[in-house]
Symmetry: C2
Subunit: 406 residues, 2 copies
């Protein structure tokens, strides 16, 4: 018998999991909520039934160890969600791990390289983004995060005291763990629009965020001649428009940007704005591209200041470096899809995932599966069953390839 994905079992597990914290067509399982812990216990139970050796730590991060092996690839993701989120985000990657390990175990393919399944806590940042993977890979000290609180003001340290979880914290085992794989819905429309079965992520993009602050002078908008104004509002409108224009003109592949937030003060129709703020964010797969885009913003800021008479200062408020995935894992994922005659697209990940943390510690790979209309982080999030099943088959195939070369 050769290990194979049981499509009905895979879909049933995903559907059953989606009933925990169900919110209309989505789920509501913020990290460490009762629903989140219930989902983690349910997944732990399914891992045990599959024959994995399971333990949940203080955070709720759960490891299912493959029995009888000295080395294993981790397949991981997370079952916590954003508020009123989708049923697949995170859950898909965990259930893929469960199904792949289960398929190997039931087929007796238990020698050599195993598959440890990890369900990380709080990837979505209810308290701290990628908290579980950050602790697992030793990047975060939990004590230093105890005072962090969620949007409702609940403090992490207190929530953990009340959670009734075990007094241990899982961590990576460098002698055992030889790689990390994660699957996730794309959260974008490129696979669906291209009719492509899986995406292989070459890099998780870097993100830079800027606060552009304009300082002008408050004037009567009826009585002050245009050439004497120092118009903080016009400054930011020009800056924002120009940034969009220039970034389009640069034509860099795989870059995105956003002007998501703006405000003028005092904000009255008949008062020339005295000051204002515009938030500009952009993402790119390489540091060189990030640097070029930043240079354009700063140059556009000088131009916009000259157009408006207001002063503009541009502060970088966030800077996340791009995270390349492991070349060997990327190639293994590509080959696995080709083995199954499934079309593959190389693409960057525009969002962070636990794989971003893992990639700094283990050879890591990240695979995307198509979702419907690119929707995620909403109860409208969905995917076609055929795409869900196909993705799991690719995940099993890449494990097969890694086992063959281990």
């Amino acid at each position: 018998m050769t290990a194979s994905i049981n499509a009905d079992r895979l879909m049933a597990d995903l559907r059953d999991l989606a009933d925990i914290g169900k919110d209309r067509t989505g789920v509501h399982r913020p990290a460490l909520s009762p629903e989140d812990l219930e989902a983690r216990r349910w997944i732990a139970g399914r891992m045990e039934e599959a024959g994995l050796s399971v333990s949940m730590d203080r955070l709720g991060t759960t490891v299912g160890r493959f029995p009888g092996v000295s080395q294993a690839v981790i397949i991981g993701s997370h079952t916590d969600t954003v508020p009123h989120g989708g049923w697949l985000d995170g859950a898909l990657g965990v259930v893929y791990g469960l199904e792949v390990a289960r398929a190997l175990l039931e087929a007796g393919e238990t020698d050599g390289l195993g598959v440890d399944v990890v369900n990380f806590q709080d990837e979505e940042g209810t308290f701290v983004p990628c908290l579980g993977s950050g602790i697992f890979f030793g990047e975060i000290d939990l004590e230093s995060m105890h005072s962090r609180s969620d949007a409702q003001g609940r403090v992490l340290g207190n929530v953990l005291k009340d959670a009734g979880t075990a007094d241990l914290l899982h961590s990576v085992d460098p002698a055992r763990h030889v790689g990390y794989l994660e699957a996730h819905i794309e959260q974008g429309p490129r696979l669906e629009n291209g009719g492509i079965g899986v995406g292989v992520v070459g890099s998780i993009v870097g993100i830079r965020r800027f606060k552009a602050t304009a300082e002008g002078r408050e004037d009567h908008a009826g009585t002050t001649p245009m050439n004497l104004r120092r118009d903080a509002g016009a400054a930011l409108l020009h800056l924002g428009s120009e940034v969009h224009r220039r970034f389009h003109a640069l034509g860099y592949p795989d870059t995105v940007w956003n002007t998501g937030s703006i405000g003028f003060s005092p904000g009255a129709p008949n008062v020339v704005p005295k000051s204002g703020e515009l938030i500009i964010e952009f993402r790119a797969p390489s540091v060189d591209t990030l640097d070029s885009m930043e240079a354009e913003i700063r140059d556009a800021g000088e131009w916009a200041a000259g157009q408006s008479g207001a002063g503009i200062t541009i502060d970088r408020t966030a800077d996340v470096a791009p995270t390349p995935m492991d070349a060997g894992m990327v190639e293994a994922l590509r080959q696995a899809a080709r083995d199954l005659q499934i079309a593959v697209l190389d693409l960057p990940s525009g969002a962070g995932h636990d794989a971003m943390v893992a990639a700094r510690h283990l050879p890591s790979g990240l695979m995307f599966t198509p979702c419907i209309n690119g929707r995620s982080h909403t109860i409208e999030e969905d995917a076609h069953e055929a795409d869900i099943i196909r993705g799991c088959q690719v995940m099993l195939q890449v494990i097969r390839r890694l086992r063959a070369t281990a």
Copy 2:
């Protein structure tokens, strides 16, 4: 003896009036506040001392009738202020009227055309903009305004009940009143910058205000490719920037515009804005120019929608027609300044005044005097004494001219 302005008396009256409701270097006399009513009673007393026949009506609008004449020009303005406003705005025009009438009376120039002095209530719109002049000229029915409230929620009808004012409402006397004159600080920098003694207003500009609403789609700003977005934020940035660019390019004299208020929803740095609003306002002295500018906004809206994938709707939320001043009054003001060898600038008024209401009912003229740094509606508002005195001399001179031709 020939009537002449008593500069010391003029300045003393302005300074004494500024002590009522004094707020640091400015005044705080919102319409129908105790300070406002005290100021009105003080001005009424000064009118009586000058020999005018004075009565204050239910609103606080005060008329000082010139004795012994059957016809009079009204010189008017208002002593109510915006919160924490300037000491000259409004007050200047009322005290000019007082001083001109007083100068005529003390010189015995009492035959023929007289000067009635009017101190209108609530020009600043604490309850209703130009409430006093609107009622005086029959444009507003007071009963219909009783439910209007100020920013603190005080209701006009109740405030009037408690004010203890007389049970009468003043109105224009068409048989008696042959014209209206108002003086006001410029509220802008053109006279000061040009070293010019007085401005003569040809027209109070028309104002149109628009709410531009963009409707797009909320998307993840990291995972949604740029070409698939419907970005309501980019739409409004492009629209606002383009409107500034086009209005500058039109090069119409005496036009001003403002983009004073903007907001995006949901307003998060990493979420493509689903919707947004931008308020655009512009002012011009002619309807043709207003129409041309409106056409540019609508055309720019279509262009910006095409750039961003979002829909843009542009709603006109306010439309105030330009108010031309009377050609005879404009010429009389110009000639009066020339008589005194004072440099004159023709200019529009970018803000509304009681003269805007009056001009629909009487031949009306509006004169501006220089102010410092164009500041008004703030406690920083100020003017040089020499400019204040010179303006009052021009006002007396124009009355002299009108009396000569009456």
